[in-house]
Symmetry: C2
Subunit: 253 residues, 2 copies
């Protein structure tokens, strides 16, 4: 059985603790939180430590804390030459203190405290300094997910930028859709099937194939009518810049 330790008590840490607790191939040896109460609902309180000096060595130590704390936390580990990884999409592997063997164990997903996730379909992006460590990360990732990729630090940076576009920015467009509905006494419910179908389409069509609408059709009558309708300057700017971007893409193809 592979023994792992998780450092952190945030969203990602908690989802990982739940997923590993259900795995037959991995055992959680210790978890670290600043306050014990943060994790008692998830794991035996005997396994929770609140002082990094109590950390024991395990096969794998996963640091899942905010980006700006990764470096310091990794420097406080009371041992050397063990495998230590972080779970961040933005931080380089080199951020980890080099007194231990380093790696990255990044689950590419959006985690909310209030929503369960199906870990088996979450892509894990792995990186390690040597092949043996990579193999161990792969085994651990495959114990909870079916989708595992080798992604280096530079690629991970690109991936995180892409994730901001398809997740953060997309969600913000949903919010604008909701605002437009509410300003016009239309229930937002009415847009939800369209939102779900929009994402569902990319299972079978490329985004270029799936693109429809006035921008794609260069339908300037409709575009002008929409711009005249939108009163909010911010929404109008977003409408213009995304319409322009779709039309530039259309010309490239």
């Amino acid at each position: 059985m592979i023994q792992i330790t998780i450092i952190g008590s945030g969203n990602v840490a908690q989802h990982l603790i739940k997923a590993f607790s259900a795995s037959k191939f991995v055992e959680i040896k210790q978890v670290y939180a600043r306050k014990k109460e943060a994790l008692v609902h998830l794991i035996d309180s005997e396994k929770i430590i609140t002082d990094l000096n109590e950390l024991q060595t395990a096969d794998l130590h996963i640091i899942s804390v905010s980006d700006n704390a990764i470096s310091e936390v990794s420097s406080l580990f009371p041992f050397n030459n063990q495998l230590v990884v972080h779970t961040s999409g933005t931080s380089s592997m080199a951020l980890l203190d080099h007194k231990n063997r380093r790696g990255v164990f990044y689950p590419l997903q959006t985690f909310s405290k209030s929503k369960e996730v199906d870990f088996t379909i979450i892509p894990f992006c792995l990186e390690a300094e040597n092949t043996a460590d990579y193999k161990l990360l792969e085994t651990v990732a495959k114990s909870i997910s079916t989708v595992v990729y080798s992604i280096n630090s530079e690629q991970r940076k690109a991936l995180h930028v892409a994730a901001v576009f398809v997740n953060n920015f997309t969600n913000h467009l949903y919010q604008i859709g909701q605002e437009i509905c509410e300003e016009n006494q239309i229930p937002f419910e009415i847009l939800k099937p369209l939102i779900l179908e929009t994402s569902d389409k990319i299972k079978t069509l490329s985004p270029a194939e799936a693109q429809t609408g006035p921008a794609k059709r260069f339908d300037s009558n409709t575009i002008d009518a929409h711009l005249a309708f939108i009163q909010n300057e911010n929404q109008k700017n977003i409408y213009k810049i995304l319409t322009q971007s779709i039309q530039q893409n259309g010309k490239k193809l």
Copy 2:
């Protein structure tokens, strides 16, 4: 049995013909296409007409042609005082020739020729000049869908703008995500679970509750690193304007 006639052979017309053909409460009396071949794979060729003068009266006549042809097509109908509707999200009901009783029968969904849709969850937005006609539209819509709304022409305009944001623009963000992946030798597949989870979240969370990411956290280190990473000026502008918009929203809350 309610008898309906469909004028048009585009995406929406074809999906409607398929859906109504499977309904027990509605019978398709005639369909009109400029060329018979456009529809022979869907319906008895005897029911296909290619000359609007051959149009017979039915309980409902659905015009599903491009926006700029609606007005002319409706003026060519060889009868008066019948119920005639269009399926457009952008066009006003008043675009229809007033020699007939007018209405709108707008399915709010994105249709692709190559992808089947589940009509039962598509919201139908209905409008009519009088109550009896509205009731008939409602009965017809409910024969193929479980989701029916009364939406006037002004609301429909707002809804179409909102749909452009949550469908057309969202799909374009997927395309940018794909471009960033490809430029960095990352398979786009890796982003698909995130894309699906992003839309799935709105079933249980409002967009404001679901919002995550560096913009929402006002994490200027990550935002600056992303802007430094993005070389494409167009992508950089979109990143900036959407980040700004999320942060304005954050301050409002």
